[in-house]
């Protein structure tokens, strides 16, 4: 339990302070693409400095250390309640150490007890597999970008969006337009076509586990991903909504089955401070390898 807790504290620390390489590469590329001497370029320069400084000081990239979302791949006989207990201990400890902000508020009383632990925090998703290894992935997602997420029900008459891929494209681009710079762009979209109101958002967030540079194996979705990024980057919203060439760093889209009556498109927006890490653990709970 102690070893597992320590491993999870280290996972939280690294997630909070160090941007994954694939995301950093995308940020650097966007810096190259901005016009010299613009406020968009200056914003990305500060962002790049911030990424280096957070890593060096081992302090949060962003003060909003976000929703804490664990994804656990585990063997069939895995002790899930023990993991939940260790994860809660790790979150308390990471908050004491300043890797996490005191970030969880009782919605009825408004009280922030300073532990960052409560119903829904952290959020832990278990998935059993027929293997012995344990993989733990973590996403920290800030509130600013969470607030600009959107869920559309098709058809949408106002946007002339029908129940087809073109309709999906229209609502996804509308979400980018409505978000402007409020979600700390340049952003990354996770999208689920289909599902219900809960699973749609859930699947959309799971897209953030993918590597920035990967390509969707489903041809139609791959094409839609490329098209969304290219089109969004022609809109001129730019970093922070200052105007400029990079509005999105990426878009990751999946499709889930739906009821005949429902056609949801659920869009989660991730800020440039896209904090995602993962580890494999040995039987004692010690970190073996890093996944990103």
């Amino acid at each position: 339990m102690i070893a597992l807790c320590n491993s999870l504290v280290e996972l939280v620390r690294r997630s909070s302070a160090e941007l994954p390489d694939d995301v950093h590469q995308a940020v650097l590329q966007s810096l190259q693409n901005e016009k010299k001497g613009t406020i968009a370029e200056a914003a990305l320069q500060i962002i790049d400095r911030n990424i280096a400084l957070a890593k060096k000081k081992s302090q949060p990239i962003c003060q909003d250390t976000g929703s804490i979302i664990f994804y656990v791949e585990c063997p069939v006989n895995f002790d899930q309640p023990a993991f939940v207990q260790a994860a809660c201990m790790a979150v308390r400890e990471a908050t004491k150490k300043g890797f996490l902000r005191q970030n969880s508020v009782d919605s009825l009383t408004g009280i922030n007890d300073g532990t960052t632990v409560g119903l829904g925090s952290p959020s832990i998703h278990f998935h059993q597999h027929q293997q012995e290894n344990i993989e733990v992935r973590l996403i920290l997602k800030g509130g600013g970008c969470e607030n600009v997420g959107a869920q559309y029900s098709l058809p949408n008459e106002k946007l002339k969006a029908n129940r087809d891929l073109d309709g999906c494209r229209k609502v996804i681009l509308d979400a980018v337009l409505q978000a402007q710079g409020k979600g700390c762009g340049p952003g990354i979209l996770g999208v689920c076509i289909g599902g219900d109101r809960a699973s749609g958002y859930e699947f959309s967030k799971q897209q953030f586990l993918r590597n920035m540079q990967d390509r969707n194996p489903i041809a139609e979705l791959d094409q839609l991903e490329q098209d969304i990024v290219a089109t969004a980057n022609r809109l001129g919203i730019g970093p922070m909504g200052f105007g400029g060439n990079t509005t999105l760093l990426g878009a990751k889209i999946c499709a889930a089955n739906r009821l005949p009556a429902s056609f949801f498109v659920s869009i989660s927006y991730m800020c440039w401070a896209y904090r995602r890490q993962g580890v494999t653990l040995d039987q004692k709970g010690q970190i073996e390898t890093w996944l990103y």
Binding site: I39, A43, I46, D64, G183, F242, C271
Partner: protein, 191 residues
Amino acid sequence: MIHLTTPITEEKIRALKVGDAVEISGILFTGRDVVHKFLHEGGVLPAEVNLRDGIIYHCGPVVMKDDAGQWKVTAAGPTTSIREEPYQSQIINDFGLRGVIGKGGMGDRTLEACKKSGCVYLHAIGGAAQVLAECITEVKSVHFLTEFGSPEAIWELRVKNFPAVVTMDSHGQSLHRDVFATSSAELAKYL
């Protein structure tokens, strides 16, 4: 680069235009969702929190106590400002604010209050919590820490060369309104 030092005169604010890069030195008071609602509902500020000719910073920092028991801000980027749109204009007018720092921009009512009272919206870089925390040289005081919790408390911060961009000025100009209009028109071409 334009330097602003608090307290700031109306003349200095009126000279600023959308797109100007500034560096701020002096005192910032953090205030976000709970503080804005509290003030809107008639809540009274402690005497030490003097917002006149000053700046409010939409920020919920990470603040730690060091070994000597002193507060130290370890992460302090801006939070999304639009949530304060229902309250901001009243607070600008009532308290005589000269600047609001945040991210993402604000709406027409805030823009109108900036014009009327002589105030600007200063956009800091969202997510740049370390670069901005380095500009904070001292935590002078904290108010409502127990009642509101650390991220929502009013932190009085001394800053040096805190970077921001004027995105809404006191002449009715807003970069956010303009970018929304041009990006909407652009999107219409691709649908």
